[in-house]
Amino acid sequence: MAEIVSLQEGIGSLLKNGDTVALEGFTHLIPMSAGHEIIRQRFEELTVVRLTPDLISDQLIGSGCVKKLVFSWGGNPGVGSLHRFRDAVEHGWPHPLEIDEHSHAGLTNRFVAGASGLPFAVMRGYRGTGLDMFTATVAPITCPFTGEELRAVAAINPDLSVIHAQRADRNGNVQLWGITGVQKEAVLAGRKSLVTVEEIVEELDPRPGDVIIPTWLITAVAVSPGGSRPSYAAGYYQRDNDFYIAWDTISRDRETFLSWMKDNVL
């Protein structure tokens, strides 16, 4: 059964230095406040897993929390570069960043394999691409039935998977709707999981296309209103597209970035 905790307790008790932590949310429901809590508690040497690193990964990387990034698209959607990510890869600032890079389909299937309790997932992909050569967690595999050459991607089982959802009930059952990305698979693949929610309600009345994750699959739930901003939570608030555009300027320069983090996160 999920324990209802504060965000501070949740991150503090479930994460440790050197862990692999997945922070999932595909453009929508990005667990931004949980990322900020990781930064405030000054975790180090983390392996961060996210399909689309987005602003939260940029902030974690620039704050020196991340040793390795497992990802499939590292940009500011519709805007351009993630400058802290680029600075770490191109110039090793604040320290060098290891990468384990995939396509969305590939990293998604790593979560699927992790959630399925299998060592790998099989897919048709990567062949002929540079990722096939450079990414160690992709390998050729031959179909035992047809002989087709396919690709295996290694399962990923994060020490902690963090997602943000719209709501939970008092027992810790979680409900999310809208674009739900790979969050269910991330929670199921995680050895532990933390779900931040906009609010706790008496009853989870059904919503179209909702995903319910029962309390007995979750380690902890923390209330964090606005926990996705500047991403969004359907039914609660909209994506702050202007801030995504503003981030380009804030993050471009190291000093501006550090001072923004000091004023807004730390």
Binding site: F71, G75, E90, A105, L131, A234, N241
Partner: protein, 253 residues
């Protein structure tokens, strides 16, 4: 001056791309130039174009140009929303997508695409965002249309990194690699349109946009560009096309 007499090369590119899309095609759309062209097509001749974004929004019908592939309006207007495993494993991989519509930072003569790095992979001079959905969109869509602005920086002789495969090193490579879709059928730029030669698979300039000199296209290509024997001139934008593109409102500033 008539509206149709003045337009930018970017407008021409978007309009030329929009003309390639038609009603009821299932189109997997990358953000940026492809998204703009597809949304333009929906406002012109293809209101029933089925737009799919990799966030899992199937049949999105946004009123504004989305800034990201996961904007709220894409979800609110979609026929349905599926998970990310579902969109890649159940829709794209088995070949249910008619057109994969992609942008990239760089392209080579065989329409292979780079959106990963400039320079050495392990020590890049420019780190680009990376693959996203593109490699599988390029390999598994029935057909692929690519859009990018043409210059010697983007049209290069040798790619530093192959993010998505077009025709590999030439004829037969897609088959050898087991890629199911037909690959790129068209590359639309701000200067013209390139199509793969049916034998060699090399991109050939088949259309040139109005008021663009062939020399300009040649100079903007990082390899010795082949020109089609019967080079055509793209039809100029109509007033209604320009009106439609100029009335598109972006979700971001």
């Amino acid at each position: 001056m008539e509206l149709a007499d003045t337009y930018t090369s970017d407008e021409m590119m978007s309009i030329a791309a929009a003309r390639q899309l038609s009603n009821n095609q299932i189109c997997f759309i990358g953000i940026g130039l492809p998204s703009k062209a597809a949304n333009l097509a929906r406002r012109l001749h293809a209101p029933d174009l089925i737009m799919i974004y990799e966030s899992g929004t199937l049949g999105a019908k946004p009123t504004k140009l989305p800034l990201s592939i996961g904007d709220g309006e894409l979800a609110e207007t979609a026929d349905t929303i599926v998970s990310v495993p579902e969109i890649f494993n159940y829709l794209l991989q088995p070949g249910k997508i008619d057109i994969g519509f992609l942008g990239a930072a760089q392209i080579d003569r065989y329409a292979n695409l780079n959106s990963t790095v400039i320079g050495d992979y392990n020590k890049p001079s420019v780190r680009l965002p990376g693959a996203g959905g593109a490699p599988e969109i390029a390999s598994s869509s029935k057909r692929v249309i690519v859009m990018l602005r043409q210059s010697t920086k983007s049209f290069v002789d040798t790619l530093p990194f192959v993010t998505s495969v077009g025709f590999g090193a030439g004829p037969g490579d897609r088959e050898k690699l087991g890629l199911k879709g037909a690959g790129p059928v068209m590359v639309i730029t701000d200067l013209g349109v390139l199509e793969p030669d049916s034998d060699t698979r090399e991109l050939v300039l088949t259309h040139i946009h109005p008021n663009i000199a062939v020399e300009k296209v040649i100079e903007s290509t990082g390899w010795k560009l082949r020109i089609a024997n019967q080079l055509k001139v793209t039809e100029s934008p109509t007033a209604s096309e320009l009106d439609a593109i100029r009335s598109l409102v972006s979700a971001g500033k």
